[in-house]
């Protein structure tokens, strides 16, 4: 089932009683991070959780002193330090025999860029941390500058003619650390997302989840269309949904139809791609290459595109 069940609003009996992300928060409408936290709430249920959050939109979303928008004890760290601080939090919990999940919630800037060294080091040490990167492909908190997660062709406030460089392949980098579990998460595929969150919550060691997180403010898209955009990114093959066990075993979770129609729709619904005039034909070769590689890694040699 590839349809959204939660849509960010539905509460179920399994949900944590106190939301991870409480009402009255200041996130923009249609923010993918809000939705990620609602899904996480459902997956976490009553497991003991501490959040560690570097500078990011999520840090702003935490609310002003002395209120707490997050429904669990939360540590805000400096921009580059969430993996180091979470290592401390998780270690002390382990020393005291506590059954705690130390969860990092970080944006792409804190993950792909400034926090990259401490992320790599925590992964290398196999710290007992669940790292969730909500990737909105932009420095949202500072008003929309490019990060190394911004895709080529996207206009940002400091790439006014569109970014030239390709997006970093963060999952491949994490896989190269041979961590226990790395996966991409589609917010538009709630069942798959939920299964991954649950799995990642309950194993010990370093786990990394990469969430494509719609940002209406930065993407210049309709807030109500966030999930649709994610669905189009998945359908077209632009955002592969897969998981990697021990840095080796690759499993593709959602099969795209590689539709150019979906890809063109994805691009045209976001004003950030307008200036570069990016179309499906421009992205298709790179998507095909990426999928050929993914097919080879997952042991399923299927042509990236089905002709006819």
């Amino acid at each position: 089932m590839n349809e959204p069940a939660l849509d960010g609003m539905v509460e179920t009996a399994l949900d944590r009683a106190d939301p991870l992300f409480r009402k009255g928060n200041t996130n923009c409408g249609g923010c993918g991070m809000s939705l990620t936290l609602q899904m996480l709430r459902h997956a976490v249920a009553e497991r003991p959780v501490h959040l560690v959050i570097p500078a990011s939109c999520a840090a702003v979303a935490g609310g002003t002193f002395p209120q707490s928008t997050f429904g669990v004890p939360t540590l805000m760290t400096t921009f580059a330090s969430a993996p180091a601080a979470a290592s401390g939090v998780a270690s002390v919990a382990a020393l005291n025999g506590e059954d705690l999940r130390a969860i990092i919630l970080a944006g792409d800037g804190g993950t792909f860029d400034i926090g990259f060294a401490s992320l790599s080091a925590a992964a290398e040490r196999n710290e007992d941390i669940l790292y969730i990167c909500y990737d909105n492909e932009i420095y949202g908190n500072t008003g929309g500058q490019r990060s190394s997660a911004t895709p080529a062709g996207a206009v940002t406030t400091n790439t006014p003619d569109g970014k030239v460089e390709q997006k970093k392949d963060i999952l491949a980098i994490l896989a190269a650390h041979r961590i226990l579990y790395a996966a991409s998460v589609s917010l538009a595929h709630a069942e798959d997302a939920h299964r991954k969150l649950r799995y990642a919550l309950d194993i010990k060691g370093f786990r990394f989840l990469h969430v494509l997180s719609p940002c209406p403010t930065g993407w210049k898209s309709e807030p109500a269309l966030g999930l649709e955009l994610v669905r189009l990114a998945v359908r077209s093959g632009l955002f592969p949904v897969y998981e990697i066990f021990d840095g080796k075993r690759h499993v593709v979770n959602i099969e795209p139809d590689f539709s150019d129609e979906a890809l063109n729709m994805y691009l045209s619904l976001q004003r950030r791609f307008q200036k570069s005039g990016l179309a499906a034909a421009d992205l298709r070769p790179a998507i095909d290459r990426n999928w050929q590689n993914l097919r080879a890694l997952s042991g399923r040699i299927v042509p990236a595109r089905r002709d006819g």
Binding site: F65, A84, S87, V89, S118
Partner: protein
């Protein structure tokens, strides 16, 4: 109590190890460490220790070393790390974070010149960059003092009235690598001296957020509370001195160490090992009939202004020797304490030993000769130029 031959780096690590073990019945110990000359031996020694309910995490940078300490202290554990120079500069942001989160991290710094150009030798310029950000700062002159100060730093930092990081400074190589007999207490004594770490704001069960956004007046109040807590340090430190003596049988040195200063008309003021050299100069020149005294500022933050003002009172001439320079101003110790001298005092700043140059007794004698010739205070002078 045993006596061991230890370098100051190893002494600091051993004191931290004993402090770590003393928290085994509490929430344990967790430290992030990263090597840098001349502090490396401190973290190496720590990494060789077996610590029950403790973990030392070998991270990828000083920034992360303090990051681990922030996480561990936020989780309620005792924490310690060590660094130097550019390592401290790289750690700077997280030192401020640890201070502003009011986490009792203890930090041993082997003071070294900031580079480039690369220079691995001592000056106080690295630690002094952190003077304004809510970390307690001690500057030590010998191995025993350093060992004792590290133990005291844990007690002070973790005191509920204080709750902030504490730095213990030793000049790189000059002290960090000097091996000397050091009295090492039994673990039981350290257990008695250090109560279990209790971080009141630690992440527990109830939802609350550490380090979140504040609006201006909240930040102003938090800064002011932090400042007031700093001002409590002298009082708390005096209590700790008494308990230290009762448990370990030796006196923890005062915040400001005066040497034959009372009846002196001329005072040599400094921090760290230059202070020890100054005391030898005082002895030598006293024998020649000069009324000379020395004052060593051991606790630089909070600055013990009352004690310094009292020591400056009635002096005709004061030489402040700084192994540091605030470029465009002069020596930091001089700048911070010149207002504490009485009007009319000839107060002269000598910048000496930057980048690790020796400051030997003959250098200090030369400065004193220069000082004797002065009838009014002058601009800061470089040791080599007088």
């Amino acid at each position: 109590m045993t006596v061991e031959l230890l370098s100051a780096n190893h002494g600091a690590a051993l004191a931290a190890t004993q402090a770590a073990r003393a928290n085994r019945k509490g929430r344990g110990f967790c430290s992030g460490v990263y090597p840098i000359t001349p502090s490396t031996e401190c973290m190496e020694y720590l990494c060789q220790q077996k610590i029950e309910k403790g973990r030392v995490i070998r991270v990828e940078s000083e920034h992360s070393a303090m990051g681990v300490c922030i996480g561990a202290a936020s989780a309620g554990a005792r924490t310690f790390t060590a660094t130097s120079s550019n390592g401290l500069a790289y750690m700077f942001e997280n030192c401020i974070a640890a201070a502003s989160l009011r986490l009792p991290v203890v930090l041993a710094v082997a003071n070294r010149t900031l580079g480039p150009p690369w220079n691995i030798w001592a000056d106080h310029g690295d630690a002094l960059t952190l003077r304004d950000h809510g970390l307690i700062q001690f500057y030590c002159a010998d191995n025993q003092e350093l060992f004792d100060s590290v133990l005291a730093a844990f007690r002070l930092a973790e005191d509920r009235r204080v709750m902030m990081p504490a730095m213990v400074n030793m000049e790189g190589f000059i002290l960090s690598h000097t091996v000397a007999q050091t009295q090492i207490p039994d673990q039981g004594q350290v257990d008695d001296f250090l109560p279990l770490t209790d971080v009141p704001q630690r992440l527990g069960v109830a939802p609350h957020t550490l380090g979140q956004i504040e609006i201006p007046h909240q930040t102003e109040m938090h800064r002011w509370q932090h400042h007031l807590a700093m001002l409590e340090v002298s009082k708390v430190y005096a209590e700790i001195q008494n308990e230290f003596e009762a448990i370990f049988g030796r006196r923890l040195l005062d915040a400001v160490v005066a040497y034959r200063a009372e009846d002196a008309d001329t005072l040599i003021v400094s921090m760290g090992t230059i202070g020890a050299t100054a005391e030898r100069v005082v002895d030598k020149l006293r024998a020649e009939g000069r009324r000379l005294g020395a004052l060593r500022v051991r606790l630089f933050r909070p600055l013990p202004t009352d004690a310094i003002r009292a020591a400056y009172a009635g002096k005709k001439r004061i030489a402040v020797i700084d192994r540091d320079i605030s470029l465009g101003l002069g020596g930091v110790l001089w700048a911070e304490t010149s207002s504490l001298a009485e009007p009319g005092t000839v107060m002269q700043n000598y910048v000496a030993g930057l980048g690790g140059g020796d400051v030997r007794p003959e250098h200090i004698v030369k400065m004193l000769d220069d000082l004797r010739r002065r009838e009014i205070s002058g601009a800061p002078a470089l040791m080599e130029a007088v």
